[in-house]
Structures are given as structure tokens and as C-alpha cells.
């Protein structure tokens, strides 16, 4: 029984120009791993309608869930909601419940819910709102696509909300075995170990710290018992015990 799969679409010119460094992909990756959903692909695309729609349609057909970040603010370059509607072939307009939520954000300020801000209440037909306790402007889920803000704090809190609604599988557990020998010297026994344990994910990540060449060997499996036995076998194979 395999876990649900997921992909992410990171939307924004500022990411591709390098002005902004995306950090949401890593937040999503860690949260999904813990929730038992396998993140299989991440794509960064610019604020260009055709690119967003093509990317979204490819990913939503291929994976159980797609998470997007970016492009849901009030300005002209925030085109994500309209692209999602177009990708699904559904209508989009200001929705009363979203407008009411937005209005609460401005009730006790000198700001008003003007036409630009109302853009943030444009929700594709049939979508479910995602709560935004920070700045109120909601995200939404349409089909298997979860549309969230790019601002990291808001992305993270929206994700927490969405994950409570998604059925996860078995979290992928991992164990790291630190070996203070260069990768090139453990590669052969490591391959033998990996070949003998085909249901295990086995990775090697080299390090060079204070002149010590070594590698962290990471093994992953959904079952804690399997993982513990594999760890013991790996330590033996590496001559650590």
C-alpha cells in the first residue's frame, strides 16, 4: 500500500530571477514526509499564464495532490487564481464568503476593502477556502490542487490547515548512519547493502568537516522494525559494530 503522491508548483518571476530564494518547497517537503505523502516533483514557473496553466495541468494529472505557492495577492502580477480557474475550465468571481472574511481584516483599520483587495476574494467555482489567520486573504482547494500564498509565514499556516483535511499514508521514517570514511571507500559495500534491501531507500551524502572526509548514509522505510534491523545490518556492513 503506497502513500499518496504530491507535486508543488512555485509561481513567481522573483524566484526565477534570484531576487527571492524559495523556502516553501523545503517546508512542504518536510511536512509531507511527516504526513505520509510522497513529494515527487517541484517546479518553479514564472508569472506567465500559459506556463502556470501547462505546469498545473501536467502535475495535477500525474500526482494525487498539487500544492502551489505565490501569486494570490491584490496586484496585477497575481494571476494564480485566474490561471487555476482556466486550467480547470471553471468560472471565477468574487465570492461572498471570501469577501466577508477579507472585510474583517480592514474593519478596525484605516484601510478599506477596495477593488484591488477584492481581487483576493476571486475564487474559482467549486473551490473550498483555505484559512489564513495572518492576513485573512484565503487560499483555496479545487479538486486536488491546493492554492496557497508565497509569503513563507502564510504558506506555512495555510499548509497546516490543508494537511488536517488530507489523508496521509505511513510517514517515511529515516535513520542516518555517520561514517567517517570517504564515499569512494564505502560505495562498494553500500551498493551490496542497497541491492540486498530493495524495498529500502538508501542515500549517501558526503561531508568534509574540519578535514574529516565522510558520508551520512540515510536509509528510509515506513516500518520502524524493518528500519531498525536494516540499520543494524548497515552498521555491520560499514564495520561500525
Amino acid at each position: 500500500m503506497s502513500n499518496p503522491t504530491a507535486a508543488m508548483l512555485v509561481i513567481g518571476d522573483e524566484i526565477l530571477s534570484g531576487r527571492t530564494r524559495d523556502i516553501n518547497a523545503n517546508v512542504l517537503a518536510l511536512a509531507l514526509t511527516e504526513h505520509g505523502i510522497d513529494l515527487e516533483e517541484v517546479r518553479f514557473v514564472p508569472d506567465v499564464e500559459a506556463r502556470i496553466i501547462d505546469g498545473l495541468n501536467q502535475l495535477r494529472m500525474q500526482f494525487d495532490h498539487v500544492f502551489t505557492s505565490g501569486g494570490i495577492g491584490p496586484t496585477h502580477d497575481d494571476i494564480t487564481a485566474d490561471c487555476i480557474a482556466r486550467a480547470f475550465g471553471v468560472g471565477i468571481d468574487v465570492r461572498e464568503d471570501a469577501r466577508a472574511i477579507l472585510a474583517t481584516n480592514y474593519a478596525n483599520t484605516d484601510m478599506d476593502l477596495n477593488a484591488a483587495r477584492l481581487r483576493m476574494a476571486r475564487i474559482p467555482d467549486g473551490a473550498t477556502l483555505i484559512d489564513n489567520p495572518i492576513s485573512k486573504a484565503p487560499g483555496f482547494t479545487l479538486g486536488n490542487v491546493h492554492v496557497m500564498a508565497g509569503v513563507p509565514k502564510i504558506f506555512a499556516v495555510m499548509l497546516d490547515g490543508v494537511l488536517t483535511t488530507l489523508k496521509g499514508g505511513q510517514p517515511l521514517l529515516s535513520v542516518t548512519v555517520r561514517v567517517e570514511r570517504p564515499e569512494g571507500e564505502v560505495a562498494v559495500p553500500l551498493r551490496v547493502f542497497a541491492d540486498a534491501n530493495p524495498d529500502l531507500s538508501v542515500g549517501s551524502y558526503p561531508f568534509n568537516v574540519d578535514g574529516v572526509l565522510g558520508c551520512n548514509l540515510v536509509i528510509r522505510h515506513q516500518d520502524a522494525g524493518v528500519l531498525a534491523r536494516a540499520e543494524a545490518a548497515l552498521r555491520t556492513a560499514m564495520g561500525l559494530d
Copy 2:
């Protein structure tokens, strides 16, 4: 005359599980922007042959250059070079010049160029080597694909080398105008400005610092004169001058 385009393929299970946070994409984005090459897409894919080959073939057909990171070490999970060879339909084997370079890395150590390490001298037929002054194991360029290490220090130095061989276009210049008014209040004049300057990239990035709500408006163009005139017009439109 538009700039050359590029995409990036980030290869590795550790990125998609969240264990490692990719930082190479941002390094590449900044370097390409400066070099006058437009980064149009980034994809993260796992250490799975079919996924690497499919992603690579899609990107290399669509863009002028593809940069990859990850999967070129000595262990069993380092499958990038073989995937590249397969994607291009060419052979791959240990190459004498690459072997000679690797050998220099072990000449004055107690390490030897064993079979596992020789994996790093496997180069697809027809490729040109990319220099690795840090740990010697080379990257390579095949056609429009530049294959580099995942370790950030090595990725960065390989990239410096590759960029000296690539013809760039006009660097995309940018100017940021800081406006201490919420996005929702500048959205209308900003859209008017963007519509009046269709050859300009215009983005708005909100901030909330010490209770001050505002946005950084970023305009981008290849021509410094155009950009300076646009900045003046934008400042006027925002009531800043």
C-alpha cells in the same frame, strides 16, 4: 533580440524528502540574471532514472540551456551521468582524461582511485569536461546540458567555469522602489503603470516590518536608460516625488 533561455534540473531524493534544502537554484538564478540568460523553469526530481530522463528531455528541447545539480558522486544512487547518456542516446564509459584528473586527487593521499571512484570518470560520449578545482571529479557539458555537482561549493565553482563558455545576452537590470503603503492601495496605479509599460517586468512584493505595511515594487529591463526613465515615472505614479 531576446536573451538565451535556461532551465534547471535539481536531482535528488534528499531534496524532495526535505532532508536537504536546495540552495543551488538561487545561486544559478542570480548568476544567470547577471549573465543575461533567462532562467525560465526549475524542476526537482528524485533519483529515479525515468523521471530524470523525462525531465531532462522535456527541458532540453524547450530551452537553450539546461543546468543539472546532483547525482554525480561515486555511490549507487549517483545515476545522473548514465541518465544523461541514455537521454541523448549515446554511450558512456570511463574516459582517460577524466580518470587522469581524478587520479591527481588521490596521488598524495592514502586513498586510491578504486572502482567506485572510477564511476566519477564515466563520461557520456561527446561531452566536454567541466573543471572541479575542489574535489577534482569533473562535471560535463553534453549538447546544451551542463551537468554539475549537488554540493553547493562545488556547484558554484563549476558554474563559474561553465558561464565563461556561454554567450550571454543583455543582463536584466532591476530597480526596487520601496513604498510604505499596503499593496492593496497601490495596486490600481501600479496596474496602470504596468499596462503603460508593456516591455517592462513589474512585480510587487509586500512586506510587514515593525508594523509598517508596504511593498517593494521591482521593475526590470535590459536597458539602463529605459529603466531610469521608468523608475522616475513609477515614483511619480506612487506619489513619492
